[in-house]
Symmetry: C2
Subunit: 423 residues, 2 copies
C-alpha cells in the first residue's frame, strides 16, 4: 500500500523512510550525541537563525498580523538559548527505545519479549511558533524516529534556517541528515501530499487549530493522532468547597486562556447556585472574564449587577480560547455528566467536591482524556504530569490519550526466541 | 466531528454509543454475568442457531461456493458447544478495565493515575465464519465495549440468529441489548456508512482478505486497526542448523497455509545454499509445496530433479495462502533484511541461526510485528503468545502491533486528584 507517486514531498518522505531505517537500530549514545550536537549548533549559529527569523517577523508585521502572534513567531538570542537548553533536557530523559514492555517464557519454552521500537517516520504539521521545529525534532530523534516538519508558511524562513542547523549537527554526529527534514513548499498542496504518503509516513500529528486538525483527520490516509482541541469543563458539585471552586474556576479559565487545557464552561449544581454564582461572577469579573450564561446565571448577573451574555448552543460547543466562559446550572451530577458527554471535546473535565462518592461517580462516568478532582483543568500537560516532554496532547482513544511523551512516539515489536520450535 | 446524518446504520451506531456509555462503568461481575448468560443461551438455543445456519449453508452450496468455505460457514451442535465453551474461557481472563497502567504522586502532591478504560464502540468487519460473531462480541463485552458486527452476507441468517441470542442473553443479565448489534443491510453501502460514522464508532477492525482491509484503511474516517495480511519470511542464515531450518521451514509454510502467519518466502544465505537447497526442496516437495524460486533455486531444482517455477516480483509480493512458496538465495544477512524491508507486509519474519550476533542483528534490523529466532512464524498468534484471546493480529504500528488481546481493546484515561490545586 506504499505510494509509488513522485513529487518533492513524496521524495522527502522516501528519504525520511530510508534515514529512519538507519536511525532505528542506533543506540542511545548515538541519538544523544546528535542531540548535544544540535544544542551546541543552535548556540553557535544563533545570529544566522535570528536573522532568518527577522525576515518572517517583518513579513508578518507588514501583513498586519496581531502583536501576540508576532510575539510567538519572534526568536531572540535568549529564546534560541532557551531552545538549546530544552534540547539538553531531552537528552537527559530516559530512553524509550528498547524498553521491554512485556516478557514471559511460554509453556513450550519460547521466550517472548515485547520491545519498544521507534515508529519510523513522524510527520508534524504545526502553526506559527518556530520553537516547535526544534522541540519536535528533538523528541523524534530521541525516540529514534525520522521527522518531517511542516510548519506554517509565516515561519518558513525561520524553519528553513533552523532545519539547516539541525541537519548539519545531526550529520556531524554521524547520523543521516535526512532524519530531520522540512516538507518542501508553502502551499496547502504540500500538506495534502503528506497526508497521502501512506507507507512512507507512519503517523501524522497535527498541532494547531481545530480546522487544521479536522482536515487532517478527515483527509489523511496516513494514520493520524488528533491533538489538543479543548472544550474543558469545571463542575461545581453540591458538596463543593465553594472557595476552592472559585479559585479553581478562575485558574482554569483565566491563567492562560489561549491554551487547550483552559476551561470553557462551568457547570454548577443547583443546590449551591445561590451561594456560588455571585461569588463566581465577582471572581470572574475581576479576572476580566465575560460570562455567557443560561437563565439562572443571567438572573444572578442581574441581581449582582454584573451583566451575563445569554448563552446559546454555540457557547456550549465553543472553544473560546479567550476571556469568555459558558456557564450553566444543572440539577444533578448526572446532568453535568450528560452536558459534558454532549458538548465536551473529551480533553479535560474537573469536579470540585468534598464528597468521595460524587468524585468517584464523576471520574467513572466522564469519558475524557483527563478527569480532575479538586484541581484545575490546566494541569493536563506533559510537563505538569512529569513526563519531561510533550509532543502534543492526544484527544483520541487509540494509541495515545492525553499528554504524549517519548513512549507515545514509539511502537513495539515482539521478539520470540526458540530452539527449533515448531507448531 | 460527530456525524449528524441518519440512516439504519448510523442509527445503529448511535444506539451502540448510548449503550457503551451504560456499559463502560459496569464492574467486572456485571460483564462476566452477561458472558455467562451468553454461553448458557447459546447452548439452550442451539437448534435455532443450527437451523438458521442451514439456510446460509444451503444458499452457499447453491451458489457453488467451495467445500472449504462451506465448511468454515457450517455450524453444528458440537461447534456451537465449542463456541459457548470459548465464551466461558473469556470470562476467566483477567479484566483489562480499571487496570492502573501508570501512577505517581507529582511534586506538588497531585495524585496521577492512568487507568485502562473501554474504547467505547468497536466495529468489526469480517468474513464468512459465524464463530467470529460470538468471539468478537465476547471479547468486546469483556473489555467493556459495545460492538457493531458486520459479517459477510453469506452468513447473514446465522449471524442474525446468533446476535438475537446474544442480545437476549445480555438483556437478561441486566445490560442494554444494544451493546451487541448486527449492522443492518447486506450491501457494501452499509460498510461504507460504518466507515464514515466518526464520533459514533471509536475503532473499526477489518478481519479478512487484503482487499477488504485496504478498502477500509483508505476510505474510513473512523480510526482503523489493520489486521492480518501476512507475507512472512524465513531466513536461513549461514550459521543455521540446517536440519532445524528445514523443520521450521516446512512447519512455517505447510502446517496451515491459509493463515496469515504462514510463511510465503524463504531466503537462504549463499554460503549454505549448496547444502540446504536440495534438503529444502525435498522436504517441501514431501509437504506438497510448489517452489517459485530465483535462478539458484531453479538450478538446484534441476539438479535434484524437482522442478522449480521461475519467480517474478509478483512472487516476492505474494501472500499465497496456499501450498506455494517463493524462494531466493541472498549473499548476506543484510541482503535478507533488505529483501524483507522491500517485500514484507511487516507481519512475522524468522531467522534460523546458531550465531548470537546474527540473531541480534536480524531482530534489530527487521521492522515487523514479530521476529522469530529459531522458531516457526506460525507462533505469532494471541493463543500461542499466551494472551488467552485474540481479536486479530495488528500489522500497523499505532495503538497495537501484533496479536491483540483484551488490553488492546482498551484506551486509558488520566484521573488526577488534588486538594484545590491550581497552576
Amino acid at each position: 500500500m506504499t505510494t509509488t507517486a513522485s513529487s518533492p514531498v513524496i521524495d522527502t518522505a522516501r528519504r525520511a523512510k530510508a534515514a529512519a531505517a538507519v536511525l532505528a537500530p542506533q543506540p542511545r549514545t548515538a541519538r544523544d550525541g546528535a542531540l548535544l550536537a544540535i544544542a551546541d549548533a543552535l548556540e553557535a549559529r544563533t545570529a544566522e537563525i535570528v536573522a532568518a527569523n527577522a525576515e518572517d517577523v517583518e513579513a508578518a508585521r507588514a501583513a498586519g498580523i496581531s502583536d501576540s502572534v508576532v510575539d510567538r513567531l519572534t526568536l531572540t538570542a535568549e529564546r534560541v538559548a532557551a531552545i538549546a537548553a530544552d534540547v539538553r533536557d531531552v537528552v537527559a530523559l530516559p530512553d524509550p527505545v528498547g524498553e521491554v514492555v512485556r516478557g514471559s517464557t511460554l509453556p513450550n519454552g519460547l521466550e517472548l519479549r515485547q520491545i519498544r521500537v521507534p515508529l519510523g517516520v513522524v510527520g508534524i504539521i504545526y502553526e506559527a511558533r518556530p520553537n516547535v521545529t526544534v522541540d519536535a525534532a528533538a523528541l523524534c530523534l530521541k525516540s529514534g524516529n525520522a521527522v518531517l516538519l511542516r510548519g506554517s508558511s509565516s515561519a518558513y524562513a525561520s524553519n528553513t534556517a533552523l532545519v539547516a542547523v539541525l541537519r548539519d549537527a545531526v550529520e556531524s554526529a554521524g547520523l543521516p541528515a535526512d532524519v530531520v527534514q522540512l516538507v518542501p513548499g508553502e502551499s496547502r498542496e504540500s500538506v495534502k501530499e503528506l497526508m497521502r504518503a501512506r507507507g512512507l509516513v507512519d503517523v501524522l500529528i497535527p498541532r494547531g487549530g481545530a480546522s487544521l486538525i479536522r482536515t487532517v483527520v478527515e483527509e489523511s490516509t496516513v494514520p493520524v493522532i488528533e491533538t489538543g482541541v479543548g472544550n474543558c469543563h469545571v463542575y461545581v458539585d453540591e458538596h463543593a468547597d465553594l472557595e476552592m471552586a472559585a479559585r479553581i474556576l478562575v485558574n482554569a479559565k483565566a491563567s492562560r486562556p489561549s491554551v487547550c487545557n483552559a476551561t470553557e464552561t462551568v457547570l454548577v449544581h443547583a443546590a449551591v447556585a445561590d451561594a456560588f454564582l455571585p461569588r463566581a461572577l465577582s471572581a470572574l469579573a475581576e479576572a476580566g472574564v465575560t460570562v455567557h450564561g443560561d437563565e439562572a446565571w443571567q438572573r444572578a448577573g442581574e441581581q449582582a449587577g454584573r451583566p451575563v451574555v445569554p448563552a446559546t448552543d454555540d457557547d456550549w460547543a465553543a472553544e473560546y480560547l479567550s476571556y469568555d466562559i459558558a456557564a450553566a446550572v444543572v440539577p444533578s451530577l448526572d446532568a453535568a455528566v450528560e452536558h459534558i458527554r454532549r458538548w465536551s471535546s473529551g480533553h479535560t473535565e474537573a469536579i470540585v467536591t468534598r464528597d468521595q462518592s460524587a468524585a468517584r461517580r464523576f471520574t467513572s462516568l466522564v469519558d475524557s482524556t483527563a478527569v480532575m478532582v479538586n484541581a484545575s483543568t490546566r494541569f493536563t500537560d506533559g510537563g505538569a504530569f512529569g513526563f519531561g516532554a510533550e509532543i502534543g496532547i492526544s484527544t483520541q482513544k487509540l494509541h495515545a490519550r492525553g499528554p504524549m511523551g517519548l513512549p507515545e512516539l514509539t511502537s513495539t515489536k515482539y521478539v520470540v526466541t526458540g530452539d527449533g520450535h515448531i507448531r
